[in-house]
């Protein structure tokens, strides 16, 4: 396990911060970050599920480690020792989409900010080919663009999320079944080097015109070159690194109006494939940060009998329980996502790393954009923290965060990975870690 030394350069910061006055305190604290030596590679997984929850059906009555999970969170029973549920946690936002944009940036009302997955990806990119793996299910379709966006690679710039698991897997591990098409790694590097030459020439003639755009382009090319140099996938740390999928469903792009990975009958398959791909990517050391986005705010995919279905009722509609369908229907639907999350966590726990596990070395955060779906508020958010981040978090408990806002959860995550950050996003929403996450 190699030590991780991370010094965040001014140039990297530039890419993230733009001209944002609000981000300045963050910048100051990041600059003060000392290079830290860690023995174990820590990982982060962020997991989004859509359309909110029902707090009284999600949170146990009492605090502490002796708790009974109500109906929606009951599927987490098998992983109860590895989770923390936070009572009285609030987000910021008047609508689904404002909260969606806020949750990972800490910025309200669509204000431009960079998201936590991007920041963690940059902190943890040493030795991996991909700083952040972003997997989606129906994440780039339906609704308005700002409903679908929680991840930003630069302030105000939505990250690309891969909704086609076949392509995601191929991008990670290459297509071993097809003939050798494409270019060798060294030729790819030559091609990218040449584009850097073009960019340099262009920059010298442009002066200050489009400077931000070209600087970002240069950074992005350099990042891909770094990735090429690191290699397609690191040394598998575990026997679980097979670089193969158990269920190798292949989604082909035949240019149809509705691509197969967007057909409702395939929703569940894509969810399961993403879980497998995430586990393989982490087990094989291809990335240290995974973001999984299951649909998006106001996601309308059809559900029937508590599962995604070719024909069924609009998930968002059902979330307005007591209006279109019943409370039980919404409970059943959200139990599905809890079940899938539990499968991901169980999978992470099964990957051994020395005498510990991948889960032990990771911090996982599940979240949704509304508190109570019917009341349409952003209070009592049904987020889930999982994994111990190498011993930083003390799990197996329900804690009370006393109306703290999400910004402090994000700060706590950053600190778990060794940052000195005191704030993330809009500093007026709170500073400092949530101390009770550590026990």
């Amino acid at each position: 396990m190699k030590p991780i030394l991370k010094e965040i350069s001014r140039r990297n910061l530039f890419r993230y911060l733009g001209n944002s006055a609000v981000a300045l305190p963050f910048m100051r604290t990041l600059l003060e970050t000392q290079a830290f030596g860690e023995v174990v590679r820590k990982r982060a997984v962020i997991y989004y599920y859509p359309n909110g929850n029902i707090p009284e059906e999600f949170f146990p009555r009492n605090l502490g480690s002796d708790f009974t999970l109500p109906r929606i969170s009951e599927p987490l029973q098998g992983i109860r020792d590895d989770i923390i549920l936070m009572k009285n946690l609030d987000f910021v936002g008047s609508t689904h989409e404002e909260s969606m944009n806020y949750a990972m940036t800490g910025m309200e009302r669509f204000k431009a900010g960079i998201s936590i997955d991007t920041v963690l990806g940059d902190m943890l990119k040493e030795g991996v080919s991909l700083p952040v793996l972003r997997l989606g299910v129906f994440s780039q379709i339906q609704g308005q663009p700002n409903y679908r966006t929680a991840s930003f690679f630069a302030p105000g710039q939505p990250s690309q999320i891969e909704d086609n698991p076949t392509r995601a897997f191929q991008n990670l591990f290459g297509d071993s079944t097809s003939q050798a098409i494409g270019l060798s790694t060294s030729m790819r590097k030559s091609v990218l080097d040449a584009s850097l030459g073009d960019l340099r020439n262009l920059q010298s003639t442009m002066g200050s015109i489009e400077k931000v755009k070209l600087d970002l382009h240069v950074e992005s090319v350099r990042e891909i070159e770094r990735r090429l140099q690191t290699g397609a996938a690191g040394d598998g740390m575990a026997s679980q690194c097979s670089k193969k999928l158990k269920n190798p469903t292949v989604f082909e792009d035949k240019g149809e109006r509705t691509s197969p990975w967007y057909r409702p009958e395939n929703f569940a398959t894509v969810v399961d494939l993403n879980t497998e791909i995430a586990l393989q990517a982490l087990a094989c050391g291809a990335t240290n940060v995974v973001y999984i986005q299951n649909s998006h705010s106001v996601g309308s995919m059809p559900f029937a009998n508590g599962a995604p279905s070719a024909r069924g009722d609009d998930h968002h509609h059902t979330s307005h329980y007591n209006e279109f369908k019943t409370r039980d229907d919404h409970i059943a639907n959200q139990r599905y996502f809890m079940t899938k999350f539990a499968e991901l966590i169980t999978g992470m726990k099964a990957i051994k790393e020395g005498d510990k596990t991948l889960l032990y070395n990771s911090c996982v955060m599940a979240w949704t954009e509304l508190g109570d779906s019917q009341a349409h508020n952003v209070r009592d958010m049904a987020s889930i923290l999982a994994g111990q981040a190498g011993g930083y978090f003390k799990t197996g408990r329900i804690v009370d965060v006393a109306r703290a806002k999400q910004n402090r959860v994000l700060v706590s995550m950053l600190r778990a990975f060794g940052s000195n950050a005191e704030v993330f996003g809009n500093p007026s929403f709170g500073s400092g870690i949530l101390t009770n996450l550590q026990g």
């Binding site: 944002s20 006055a21 008047s94 609508t95 404002e98 910025m107 009302r109 669509f110 204000k111 379709i141 339906q142 609704g143 663009p145 700002n146 690679f153 630069a154 302030p155 710039q157 939505p158 990250s159 690309q160 086609n164 392509r167 991008n171 098409i181 494409g182 270019l183 060294s186 030729m187 030559s190 091609v191 990218l192 040449a194 584009s195 073009d198 960019l199 262009l202 015109i209 489009e210 931000v212 755009k213 070209l214 970002l216 382009h217 950074e219 992005s220 090319v221 891909i224 990735r227 792009d253 240019g255 309308s300 609009d314 509609h317 209006e323 279109f324 019917q374 009341a375 349409h376 508020n377």
Partner: protein, 564 residues
Amino acid sequence: MTFRFIITVLCAVKILCAVSWGCRLKAPNFKVNKPAAANGNNPIDSQDPPGTSAAERELIEKIMSSNVDCNGAPQAGKASLRLLTREEFQNTARDVLKVKSDYRQQIPVDIEVLGFQNNIEAGKISDSHVASYLEVAIKIADEIKPNLSNLVQCGSDANACAEKIVDGLAPALWRRPLSAPERTELVAFYSNAAKTAPNEALTSLLARLLVSPYFLYRSEVGKTGSLTPHEMASALSYFFWGTVPDAELLELAKSGTILDEPVLLAQAERLMKSDKSQYVLKEFAAAWLGYRKIYSGSKSPTLFPQYTKEIQDAMAAEAENTFVHLMTKSGSNFASLFKSDYSIGSAALAGYYSGKATKKDSLDVISFADSPRRGVLGLGAILAATSATTETNPFRRGHFVLQNILCHVPPPTPEGLVVTPPAPDKELSTRERFARHSAVPACSSCHKQLDGVGFGMEDFDAVGVHRTGESGKMIDDSGTLVGFGDRDLSFSGAAGLSEILADSRHAKRCFVTQWYRYAHGHMEKESDVCAIRSIADKFESGEMTMPQFLVKLITHPSFQKRGN
């Protein structure tokens, strides 16, 4: 009834509501906050969503106002690098390299800004962009390699082939001649590749051309303050046809004569006249009217069994074909966009609307002479896209008209306000249910405007069908256009609103502004105001047909001249 009345009154006096009904106020003594001001005065630096900052609203006011001194104001556009959109990328590969495969899904998603997919600020390249572009470039190279002789005169000598690619394809892909050092570098790139990995050399060369910023960005930067001949040729071609300049444009670019005003005008007219200009008309319609959004939502099959996949497709086709027709027919004018009593649509759609299927010069036409369906606000795709799965959404419709047709972006919901949609109620109409929210003082200041428009369109249901009743009552489609003119204007139904918009100075000048945004690829800045005003003044006078307007827009000094 009494219970509901009490709740409404309690909400109206700002007491925290115990039940989820209408506007829930988080705290007493609630105040409506003004939208956050931009950081600094330059809207580009604003962190607020596009259109919502005070600075941007000021610019719209200046565009609309009758009293702005633009004498001697410089009118230069912004020097920019415009990232190819998915459509432009695919069209370019198709027209230069004759690719048959569809690569659009593999190219990064265009980021949409206020409806437009071609915003230059949003068009930035992340690491995932670079990775995607590299993969697509390699795939394209591998697709065309076996048939290179179709593109360049190539014998069996691979080295000679490489030089042919450099001389033939590079300028076409980069949309300008190569400089001598560039040519040398490209030939050397190939030679080095051929030495180390001969099997990969051609693929590398082609890929290298396709991942270059010279390919990925369309340059509209200018030299000595004006677009170069090649930039102008490209700009015309991508604007009207969404692809690389054709041979005629390239010739004129090579000689430089494309910049002579009569030549420039003639070329713009030629491109506009061609059927290929349907590209720009459909792309603009998608941004301005948002008709493709019907594919993003679904409708309840139990409530709307008639709204099938075929009808959905027919509506999308109707929206784009009707817009194309209204923009290009003889005597095309702004008013007809709102007042036309027919659309270009299939017989099946005619049946769905209960309109009359006829023909007009071999076009399938639906006549609405006997019904109150008029213009773009009568297009099923717009009415459906601005509605929800089971019912209309008057707020969304109001927002659409205000933002897209009148260039007024309503302020965001006030901070601290929790927005809850109204619960279903079989005894109440949509209007009655939604009106409860708007009656609350915290909401009414903005909702006066939104509701005035949205409620007035309730004569069309969530799937674009005309209706006179709902929940056992007559539809109340009375509406008011508030805040655009000396006085509030009352109307009845979508057609009534259309009558007002057809003659509205605001709507006309907004139309010009929207087209300016599309042509230039960015939201207007201070330096664009006078240019937009001068074009809008001419547009309002009615002297220009629509094609003449587009030609004027793209040949205007503000487009040709560029500053930082």
